[in-house]
């Protein structure tokens, strides 16, 4: 039998689109099945959502030719300040201060709005003959027959390929249909996400305040705007989410402080229950999972999309190499290479993100002291600091070529 495509990608979010483009650069054709209709995916209104792109993620986008249209819309993160605090008490005496000057690679990351990223990806896909975008379609069935993986769409269309990739989020139907279970836990926290406009410039500085209820991240957007990721205990978060805009700002102000002057809302408000959700396996028979479908992590350091792009850089490179050898890209042996390459990263990430958050959202006085000292100590150890900064920028570890900014 002949295949319809090299890869069927289920999920038209950022990860699915980025994977399709990365694979196309390596000569692999794909079809991207997107649940959302094109007008929703391509909308250009600012909805308040944005991403902290690690340096490695920015390089991947640049290697795919996507950075040129985004550069003008991206805010470089030049500095990160992390401090411990309680509402109304101000920052603890010790705080972590990371500076782009500590990295030879330039800014520590970039803040990019969701709408700009989405539109850049869609535009690039439209120009790429090896990628077919099918918006407004859902997968109703999936199977493996002989050497072909196949999906059936709601419209009745059947598509086959040597490989199906699930990029369909943490409630991945692709994983579920393949019988892949998930392990996870709930942090009992909810992240309140929005953008604010402020009076004074942020100078490219990102702040992370570690509050008893969870961290508050203030991340610089272009102009005098910042993105807020405010994690709180579930009950309180739900209460705050239920307030009107004025009430929400009233609750935010004592935590945010006044270092950027008066603040106002600059987009919609969202709330996301926080939890860690890991697929038990990231590969199956003629199947791979990427992005949140593989691992959905606490957004404390903006690592969700960055981890997703690491999945994409890795999978695209493994598939590109397999194609260049003439291998069957859906063979167990090929997918095993992807699994192996990602396994260390996944385990380290889950542990680090979870441990980091537990350590930093606890009101126990003794822990608070240890934390203050720990942060102070961290701030005085150049080698460890550098490693920490490089990890946050996604520059540590055995990196796929795309994440180093190199072509496949």
């Amino acid at each position: 039998m002949a295949y319809d495509r090299d890869i069927v990608i289920v999920g038209g979010g950022l990860n699915g689109c980025a994977l399709a483009l990365a694979c196309a650069r390596a000569g692999l054709s794909s079809v991207v099945i997107d649940r959302l209709p094109a007008e929703v995916r391509g909308g250009d209104r600012f909805d308040g959502r944005s991403y902290a792109l690690a340096a490695a993620s920015q390089r991947l986008l640049a290697a795919l030719g996507l950075w040129a249209p985004l550069q003008g819309e991206a805010q470089p993160i030049l500095e990160i300040k992390a401090s411990d605090g309680r509402p109304g008490e101000g920052a603890a005496p010790f705080f972590l201060h990371f500076d782009a000057a500590e990295l030879d690679e330039g800014p520590m990351g970039w803040m990019v709005e969701d709408r700009h990223l989405r539109r850049a990806l869609l535009a690039a896909m439209a120009e790429e003959p090896l990628v077919e975008h099918r918006p407004g379609e859902t997968v109703v069935a999936q199977s493996v027959e002989g050497m072909a993986a196949g999906v059936v769409l709601g419209s009745g269309v059947r598509l086959t390929a040597p490989l199906v990739v699930g990029a369909d989020g943490k409630a991945s139907g692709t994983a579920e249909r393949a019988g892949i279970r998930r392990t996870g836990w709930d942090y009992g926290q909810t992240a309140l996400v929005c953008a604010v406009a402020h009076e004074r410039p942020h100078h490219g500085c990102a702040h992370q305040f570690f509050m008893p209820g969870g961290p508050l991240a203030i991340l610089p957007l272009t102009g005098n705007r910042s993105s807020i990721v405010w994690s709180e205990r579930r009950g309180l978060a739900e209460h705050i989410a239920g307030l009107d805009d004025a009430g929400f700002l009233e609750a935010l102000r004592p935590r945010f402080g006044d270092f950027l002057g008066a603040i106002s809302l600059a987009g919609d408000r969202y709330s996301y229950p926080l939890g860690l959700s890991l697929a038990d396996r990231i590969v199956g028979e003629r199947l791979a999972l990427v992005g949140d479908a593989a691992q959905s992590v606490h957004p404390i350091a903006g690592q969700g999309l960055n981890q997703g792009l690491r999945d994409i850089g890795t999978l695209a490179e493994v598939l590109a190499e397999a194609r260049r050898r003439g291998e069957d890209i859906g063979a167990g042996q090929v997918l095993e290479r992807h699994r192996r390459w990602r396994s260390f990263d996944r385990a380290a990430l889950a542990l680090a993100t979870d441990g980091f958050n537990r350590l930093f959202s606890n009101d126990n006085a003794l822990l608070r002291l240890g934390r203050d000292l720990g942060m102070g100590v961290l701030g005085h150890l150049p080698g460890l600091r550098r490693r920490f900064v490089r990890e946050a920028a996604g520059l540590a570890g055995d990196m796929p070529r795309l994440l180093k900014g190199q072509p496949l």
Binding site: G146, R325, E327, D328
Partner: protein
């Protein structure tokens, strides 16, 4: 099949394995493990010799490739995916059956034949590329076999040949280790006395009228389970590329 270099006992051994050719975890697992390394070498050599762009969708389009001792098609299929017109030859009819069925399932067109290099030569066939991978150590008369293979090449054609070195280490790893201890391969798969040193192989290739253009070791890393090419270590598995002057 008179007048062939095929050893009847050797053919029977592989026929017993035929159904398991494509099971990545079965008896052919070591071959599947080694395949990416072999394919890297083969694809690189072909691309260099025929000046092909490996990023192209079907970089080997227009090249006629013979895979001698093709087994279940572990090399024939990748060559076909890369655009080559492939003739897969194996003396074991059961292997050819397995290979045909698998190629059909993969949507690949490959001309599989239950035949030998000698029969292909007698039929006047000619090729741009001839693969003789992990076969020289199994034929009755390697010198005659290599001469026949060389005769199948068109002027300017490329032959790639891999085998096992006749060293104590090769015996320890391939015969004692892989067959008797690990049971990766059925006992009796290899006969150490048939192994050739790189020098002997090079001499035979030269006698067959070919010019040896490259030689590399293939080294197994027991920790990662991966194979890698090596410039220096030809002590166990090695591969050579030779060209018929055009």
């Amino acid at each position: 099949m008179s007048g062939t270099s095929v050893d009847a006992g050797e053919v029977a051994k592989f026929e017993a394995m035929a159904a398991e050719w494509w099971d990545e975890r079965g008896t052919a697992a070591p071959l599947h493990r080694m395949n990416p390394c072999r394919l890297d070498y083969i694809a690189r050599q072909i691309a260099a010799e025929f000046d092909r762009d490996r990023a192209a969708p079907r970089p080997f389009a227009g090249l006629r490739v013979a895979d001698i001792g093709c087994g279940g098609g572990l090399l024939s299929e990748p060559m076909a995916r890369l655009g080559a017109e492939v003739v897969g030859a194996d003396a074991g009819a059961e292997n050819i059956g397995v290979a045909r069925a698998h190629a059909a399932a993969a949507g690949l067109t490959i001309d599989y034949r239950a035949t030998t290099a000698e029969a292909l030569a007698a039929a006047g066939e000619s090729f741009d590329v001839l693969l003789a991978m992990e076969i020289v150590e199994h034929v009755a008369d390697p010198r005659a076999f290599l001469a026949t293979c060389a005769g199948l090449l068109r002027p300017g054609g490329l032959m790639i040949c891999s085998t096992l070195n006749r060293t104590a280490k090769a015996w320890a790893l391939a015969v004692f280790g892989a067959e008797r201890v690990m049971r990766w391969l059925p006992a009796g798969t290899h006969d150490w006395s048939k192994f050739l040193s790189p020098k002997e192989l090079a001499e035979m290739l030269r006698e067959a009228g070919l010019e040896v253009v490259d030689r590399k070791g293939m080294v197994f890393d027991p920790l990662s389970g991966d194979w890698a090419l090596s410039e220096r270590d030809l002590s166990v598995n090695y591969v050579a590329a030779a060209v018929r002057p055009g």
